[in-house]
Subunit: 245 residues, 6 copies
Amino acid sequence: MSRIDGRTPEQLRPVTIERGWSKHAEGSVLVSFGDTKVLCTASVTEGVPRWRKGSGEGWITAEYAMLPRSTNTRGDREAVRGRIGGRTHEISRLIGRSLRAVVNLKALGENTVVLDCDVLQADGGTRTAAITGAYVALADAIAWAVDRKLVKPKAKPLDGTVSAVSVGIVDGVPLLDLCYEEDVRAETDMNVVCTGGGRFVEVQGTAEGTPFTRAELDSLLDLAVAGCAQLDGVQRRALGAIETA
Amino acid sequence: MSRIDGRTPEQLRPVTIERGWSKHAEGSVLVSFGDTKVLCTASVTEGVPRWRKGSGEGWITAEYAMLPRSTNTRGDREAVRGRIGGRTHEISRLIGRSLRAVVNLKALGENTVVLDCDVLQADGGTRTAAITGAYVALADAIAWAVDRKLVKPKAKPLDGTVSAVSVGIVDGVPLLDLCYEEDVRAETDMNVVCTGGGRFVEVQGTAEGTPFTRAELDSLLDLAVAGCAQLDGVQRRALGAIETA
Amino acid sequence: MSRIDGRTPEQLRPVTIERGWSKHAEGSVLVSFGDTKVLCTASVTEGVPRWRKGSGEGWITAEYAMLPRSTNTRGDREAVRGRIGGRTHEISRLIGRSLRAVVNLKALGENTVVLDCDVLQADGGTRTAAITGAYVALADAIAWAVDRKLVKPKAKPLDGTVSAVSVGIVDGVPLLDLCYEEDVRAETDMNVVCTGGGRFVEVQGTAEGTPFTRAELDSLLDLAVAGCAQLDGVQRRALGAIETA
Amino acid sequence: MSRIDGRTPEQLRPVTIERGWSKHAEGSVLVSFGDTKVLCTASVTEGVPRWRKGSGEGWITAEYAMLPRSTNTRGDREAVRGRIGGRTHEISRLIGRSLRAVVNLKALGENTVVLDCDVLQADGGTRTAAITGAYVALADAIAWAVDRKLVKPKAKPLDGTVSAVSVGIVDGVPLLDLCYEEDVRAETDMNVVCTGGGRFVEVQGTAEGTPFTRAELDSLLDLAVAGCAQLDGVQRRALGAIETA
Amino acid sequence: MSRIDGRTPEQLRPVTIERGWSKHAEGSVLVSFGDTKVLCTASVTEGVPRWRKGSGEGWITAEYAMLPRSTNTRGDREAVRGRIGGRTHEISRLIGRSLRAVVNLKALGENTVVLDCDVLQADGGTRTAAITGAYVALADAIAWAVDRKLVKPKAKPLDGTVSAVSVGIVDGVPLLDLCYEEDVRAETDMNVVCTGGGRFVEVQGTAEGTPFTRAELDSLLDLAVAGCAQLDGVQRRALGAIETA
Amino acid sequence: MSRIDGRTPEQLRPVTIERGWSKHAEGSVLVSFGDTKVLCTASVTEGVPRWRKGSGEGWITAEYAMLPRSTNTRGDREAVRGRIGGRTHEISRLIGRSLRAVVNLKALGENTVVLDCDVLQADGGTRTAAITGAYVALADAIAWAVDRKLVKPKAKPLDGTVSAVSVGIVDGVPLLDLCYEEDVRAETDMNVVCTGGGRFVEVQGTAEGTPFTRAELDSLLDLAVAGCAQLDGVQRRALGAIETA
């Protein structure tokens, strides 16, 4: 069986990571998973939120949002409605947790990095693209902070790498990296966040239609782990490309 | 190794489900998982939200909240702050999705059931207690709607049963149904929602500290499936107790 | 003439006060006036709001709310609407004022007690039940603060006792402690807050239909004073029951 | 004993009611109780709020607000804070209830009158001035509606007249119509709304310091009834002045 | 051609400025441009907003609002809607900028003046009346601050005078100081803020219908400059009237 | 004198307009004025807002926003703060008015076009870039609507073209198209919106420091008219490029 865009079940969409997209941010990336495009910026500030002051530890947080016409039908602007929706909250929290999993907050010192992930165009997998891109923006921002000596010499705030991918079951077949059309038809939908070492940071599986079996869950996890390993390679090449320049 | 409250790793806390708690609601339950107490009410109204009108299908939604002093330290009231927090949004959405997974919305007809899950006292596992209790309140509310002939005769809106439990790894040991003290110490924390038939509706695992391995994930899933099977029994007995009366 | 639930005009509904309902709060009470059930918790924190700092005096405040399905028809959640309604505001302020009337804020020192009164089930008289129950929760919280030496030895922050009851005229007859069905039919509705010594803290009378005469007002005040005297006894017994245990 | 401004205890401040203040509103009044000045406008619209449609009855509602610098110290604008405070809510509701008490909503037909009471300058008694002035604006608006035949011929939407005054105990002496300086020193503070016939529409008494006795309550009610009788005269003269013009 | 109210094209409406309107504010003015009436109060407080602390400079800000029934049809109260509309924001900012243009913030020292401009009755030109009136209120407030020695002796916080007027093209004819009926028919609408010396502080021209030519723009600017010169005279007479008293 | 980036006073920054940027929107443009980059999407929907229904006319509206890190220092997200700031409101309204000036709303029929202008990177002139880009996105969206026959054949909804540019006086020299560094140093700042025919749609000039003279205003207008004429050429080439493809 071939997929809507000709991919095999275990194939990612073309993934690109364009570093240094913004002239202002300490780290910035335009990440694409096929037609999904997310602008990720990392902003470093000295100091931490009030509840963390004096702890000697830093903080990493994230805010996700979609431009109103990033989707097929225009959505209301959350700023205009005056409140953030549940889905936005949920994804922002997921991105923040995922990145904190690979940061040594003590080594970061009392500095804060805010990751803004704004979806410019959506075609499924916006949260997984956001995590994958935000990691690279974060790595650049931390390198910037190290250069500026905001972080103590020899402290290594980054403990590892992290990427994310969606998987799902469509017409009974487990598929990697769903595009929007596949996503709406999926019976089960799962987002998996892995470290470069193949461990799990987050596993979020949801039965959209029929509840799923342990065997289905296992095959989805297999696909996701393999997909994250590929994304890890893309991240490393993106980071290397400029470092060697 | 014995747990803080003397349980074995695979043991649930005492679980009680008190039906008919409220004189007003079509279904109502006070559910306890140990010291966690959640009041779940199910409210039936004819009609559906605007975006669903004319579909011939019903709707199930949920709202979760914590009383300000349900926790050890008093939290601000979300109504006073003027906005619902991300965690509240996230859990409300989880409860709604979990219950919809076992409801045949077509059979429900254009009726809406709102599940309100208000945490009166919190000691870990409030969302899983809420799902487990809300299912029973929902079953009572649907029975009420069938009696009132809001639902077509012979239509069976309930496709199955659903319950939920938390699992986590504390000091390297996978534990079932974490109380608050265990929850804050857990390296990995997972909430699992299962049908009575042992299939998965939701799997949400999060590494709080070190990312977790596939083997750890597997052992947590085993614990959770066994825990949900026990909760399914508690639900059936609660529902049976009154039905046979 | 006998009332809807068989009471005489000057009879209270069964009133119960269950102390120590919550394991977390410094004081907590589940109070029932018939089918009206309100959970009152008292939370003690050191320090006072900014506008009171340095005054040497404490602060007592209250927040009242109804669970969405505490009533016959489900009400919208104020947190979801993003604003607190006028009635909620009004009752929260009334409860706070009523309790402050019997507290010596100087003796309390710079400590704050927040009374949360959440209506679990409503059948008329929720505000009067809340005041009556909150007084007991407050007394327990202050005893806790005295034990912890947050309050100076020999300081007696409690100046007296306070309770509240509703009265109204239904079909021309003055009645004590209206249930919901009586309340909606009342031509005049009054809430009276009295000290244990029979003095008035608040008198709030409203003509729902025809304006009322001085004679009617007088007979309502007589009923209310007698009702509060009975409630004072219930409070004393509730506080004594545990103290002697 | 003479009062701060030389009045006797049972004397009102100079009260003026200037009708036809606004060129736009169907009824409008600038009312002064001494230095307290409130602009009251009555706006008539055909139709009623959704929850009243088809009832055949009209609706009267009120909104009270203070200009930021109507007081001695500038207050934040509620529109800027994004929410209405409890006191504002409470007074708006009081004004609406007080006016509805003298309107036959059936005779009004499905029309709505909104009373806006904006305090231009505050010196105590703003809510009682607002009620007293709003009644006159309402009378003008209803006359306008009768002229335009929005109301059925011979229907008499106004059942009576209504006015309001504050009373309080200062240094042990019951005083009528407190100015701001007296208000802050009052041990007991009461707002009373009476019909022209001397019946009570609202009685709201609050112990600011020591709880008050039945005897004190009685003397305050006596003062208030006498004060409202005088205000009734001022209202009648204001309405007569133009009617005979 | 004569205008709707008989004026010539280059004629202002009757303009009055009543100083000392409020007993509380440090400066206060009731300004009328024909039937447009705006109450402007100036409130002085020691200190500046946080972002300006330690700068040694003061701050001037303004808040504009319309009473709900200042207009022909009642508008919703922004406090009730819970948010300030775009037009309100825009005009508040315009007033603040216009006044800051003639204030030497360094000479003011770390003091803040808030100008509240509340439209009591609207008939076109509310923002220009507000600026013109607010200038006079500001002058009084600054004189008050100088008297109280909040401002250093010999410092002269006021650099000049400022007034504003609207101009527009109606049926092809450039007109000064549009009333509401002219405003809605205008093809082009412009608000101009000038100093007493005839320089421009703000020029805001908008094509409501057909875009306008440079020649039209020039003739509107001519009219506006002449109008502001007249308003400058009115302001000087208002300020002089009391100073010489 | 040469400018910070080497331009002459009357020179625009490099301006690019990239059409068809988004796969979802009916019209979309990424416009750059130097380092200022704004994504403009035009969304067509059938129908108009409620207040316009039955008028036979269409509606054009705009929403402007900045990504949090489009600027040098990260700004708070307006959705998170829960309200839209005054500047955002003001610019959104300006963009909407500017585009409506060249649209024949009757010819558009009862269709709505929403222009979303999201600033991806800011370096001065974001509102003028937004207007200039949004015009092109609007032209594409209207062409789309004509193709789909949403608009009547032969109706020509576009009456002309519109573009915008900023001008200002820096160190006494009038400059065209200010970048951020020039903007903060400008004594006078003006945004001018012109039609392709050289008429004015909006003129908004503000004295940041010293008020400006008529001669200065004239020289700024000359610069702006010449700048808009160049932008008109860029727009035509961008639109032509694809049309001839």
